[in-house]
């Protein structure tokens, strides 16, 4: 009971902060849209994979990009938070570290999911207007949201693991270069995954984000050699296992966390 109240408190705090930092939310939506229109249209004029235009192909990748940047950054941010902000107050409170971790994950995932949800709504509008060739059905939207939720939890956990173990924010840029960009570019988000050479294709195959993109592309566009390539259940299984492992490691990392 008491733990639930604490978890709620943490979630409430993240949600309030999210709703008050409008400019951050706006930019987190604008960036993916710029990708969709500039890269999507630019490359779309001479590229297409499968039966649809490049923009549609890119769309699931854009959803993942939003989740990836938002969730990982959210987590890593606690390296600041525990120095100068509210985190210290939370760490001396009589709450289990596991509950703190869960509260953080829920807060971060809520923020991230709201952002991707807005992009889904925009996507639906675009497809009605005939600009984006994607079949949005109740089922495909539902599956997409579930995929996004599961992968977001795992990504948020990665961020929190790193943030909880870092002692100063100095390594922050490195995380973008060595974690976020590789996870994004080597996930099939912006080009199909089969035509890559040895090492890269191995990385693609062990990258959990690959399976999130694949699953969403399969259900939003269709399956085929350049689209959804794996069984959607396999995709789902992989990201679920990934997120479960990350949550387990994160719980442990939080137990060990010091200022």
């Amino acid at each position: 009971m008491s733990e639930l109240k604490g978890i709620y408190a943490l979630w409430y705090r993240e949600f309030k902060v999210f709703t008050r930092e409008r400019s951050r939310v706006v930019s987190s939506i604008i960036n993916p849209l710029l990708w969709l229109f500039i890269i999507g249209t630019g490359l779309g004029s001479f590229l297409s994979f499968g039966p649809v235009g490049y923009q549609a192909f890119l769309y699931p990748g854009i959803l993942i990009m939003t989740s990836l940047f938002s969730a990982v950054f959210f987590g890593v941010y606690i390296v600041w938070d525990k120095k100068v902000d509210f985190m210290k107050e939370v760490l001396v409170a009589p709450m289990r570290r596991t509950s703190i971790f869960i509260g953080k994950i829920l807060g971060g995932s809520t923020d991230t999911l709201i952002q991707t949800m807005i992009l889904i709504v925009i996507g639906i509008a675009l497809s009605f207007a005939g600009i984006l060739q994607i079949h949005f059905t109740v089922l495909s939207i539902l599956v997409t949201v579930v995929f996004l939720f599961v992968i977001t939890v795992g990504l948020c956990a990665i961020g929190l693991i790193i943030g909880s173990q870092m002692e100063s924010p100095e390594g922050f840029q490195l995380i973008i270069s060595f974690l976020i960009f590789p996870l994004f570019f080597l996930s099939g988000a912006i080009f199909p995954i089969y035509n890559q050479s040895g090492v890269l294709s191995t990385i693609v195959l062990v990258n959990p984000v690959t399976y999130a993109v694949d699953g969403m592309r399969g259900v939003l566009i269709g399956r085929g050699p350049q689209l959804g390539q794996f069984d959607p259940w396999l995709d789902f299984l992989v990201i679920t296992i990934f997120s479960a492992i990350m949550v387990a490691i994160g719980t442990y990392a939080f137990k060990k966390m010091k200022l």
Binding site: K16, D85, V92, A93, L259
Partner: protein, 323 residues
């Protein structure tokens, strides 16, 4: 009665620098205990270890019977802390910060509302409670942190420089509230401060720390008495320190702010002799010692002007006092 805080050989080392050095200390329930010391003495580090936020390098402490290294969860249930650094959330309102605190400490709703009203009144923030904390002034933010720390009435409350940046009314109000908590709720309060008047007024006992060690520990009254006399402050054109030192009732001579301070046993009856010996004086002041004198005596950190040029020195003033 067993001590509510029992610190055993508590040590913290950063790389090769020992900032808290085999600290041993017992604090009784209901006590208001002051931890004084110059900047960097290790006060905050000690509090962060006691509140389970930093792991000790060696040694440990029992708080309310629980070991800070083995049962941090139990320890956290017994304590509250107001940090030296800000830890309220700027993007939330004052009221929201307090409400979250209540949730984190699992306070029932009615009690939460009641306490929030109380503490807001105490720190005089009732009419600003719905403003975002980033729109507060520095002192208002400090007051909010205090209100939050006092809200859940822990068994042991740590206050790290609680009144830093507060105006005189707020300080006075806070002092009274702290005293009330200790008396009525039997709460144990450990505070650090650089204000000697505050320490003198509030604390049952004080420890002066320097370089990670406790230099002296006693009641404020006893500490002042231990200096062994009154303070005579002299300004004179020709001061012969050697001859003053030779006087049996002069316990200690130290420079203070360009003048000379003597610690003199029973100053009122010896003043005439001292003045005769010094000859012409520009000014003289006799007073009973304050905690400032005690602090300077044990830590020796003061702006000294011993060579008429002035300059910072930090070496301990090995006094001639109280052998």
């Amino acid at each position: 009665m067993a001590a509510i805080i029992d610190i055993k050989d508590l040590t913290k080392t950063y790389e090769d620098r020992t900032v808290v050095d085999h600290l041993n200390l017992q604090i009784e329930e209901g006590e208001i205990f002051g931890l004084l010391g110059p900047n960097g003495a290790g006060k905050t580090t000690t509090l962060l270890m006691l509140t389970t936020l930093k792991p000790p390098t060696s040694g440990t402490a029992l708080i309310n019977g629980f070991d800070i290294t083995k049962r941090p969860d139990k320890v956290r249930k017994s304590i509250g802390i107001v940090f030296q650094e800000p830890s309220t959330d700027e993007i939330l309102t004052g009221y929201e910060n307090l409400k979250l605190h209540g949730w984190l400490y699992d306070m029932p709703d009615h009690l939460l509302k009641e306490r929030i009203t109380d503490v807001l009144q105490l720190v005089n923030l009732t009419d600003r409670k719905d403003d975002l904390v980033k729109r507060y002034s520095g002192g208002m933010r400090r007051r909010l942190e205090l209100a939050r720390g006092l809200m859940h009435h822990p068994k042991v409350l740590f206050l790290d420089e609680p009144t830093l940046g507060l105006d005189p009314q707020s300080r006075e109000g806070l002092w009274r509230y702290i005293e009330k908590l200790a008396q009525e709720k039997n709460m144990t309060i450990i505070l650090t401060t650089h204000y000697m008047d505050e320490a003198d007024r509030l604390c049952n006992r004080l420890a002066i720390m320097d370089k990670g060690k406790i230099v002296v520990l006693d009641t404020p009254k006893q500490l002042k008495a231990n200096l062994g006399g009154d303070i005579v402050r002299l300004k004179a054109p020709h001061l012969d320190q050697e001859r003053l030192k030779a006087l049996p009732y002069v316990k200690k001579i130290s420079p203070c702010d360009g003048e000379l301070c003597l610690t003199v046993e029973n100053a009122s009856s010896h003043l005439q002799e001292i003045l005769t010996l010094v000859g012409k004086v520009d000014s003289v002041e006799v007073r009973i010692p304050t905690l400032d004198d005690v602090f300077l005596h044990y830590t020796g950190k003061a702006l000294k002007n011993s060579d008429a040029q002035g300059g910072w020195t930090s070496g301990p003033m090995t006094g001639e006092a109280n052998e």
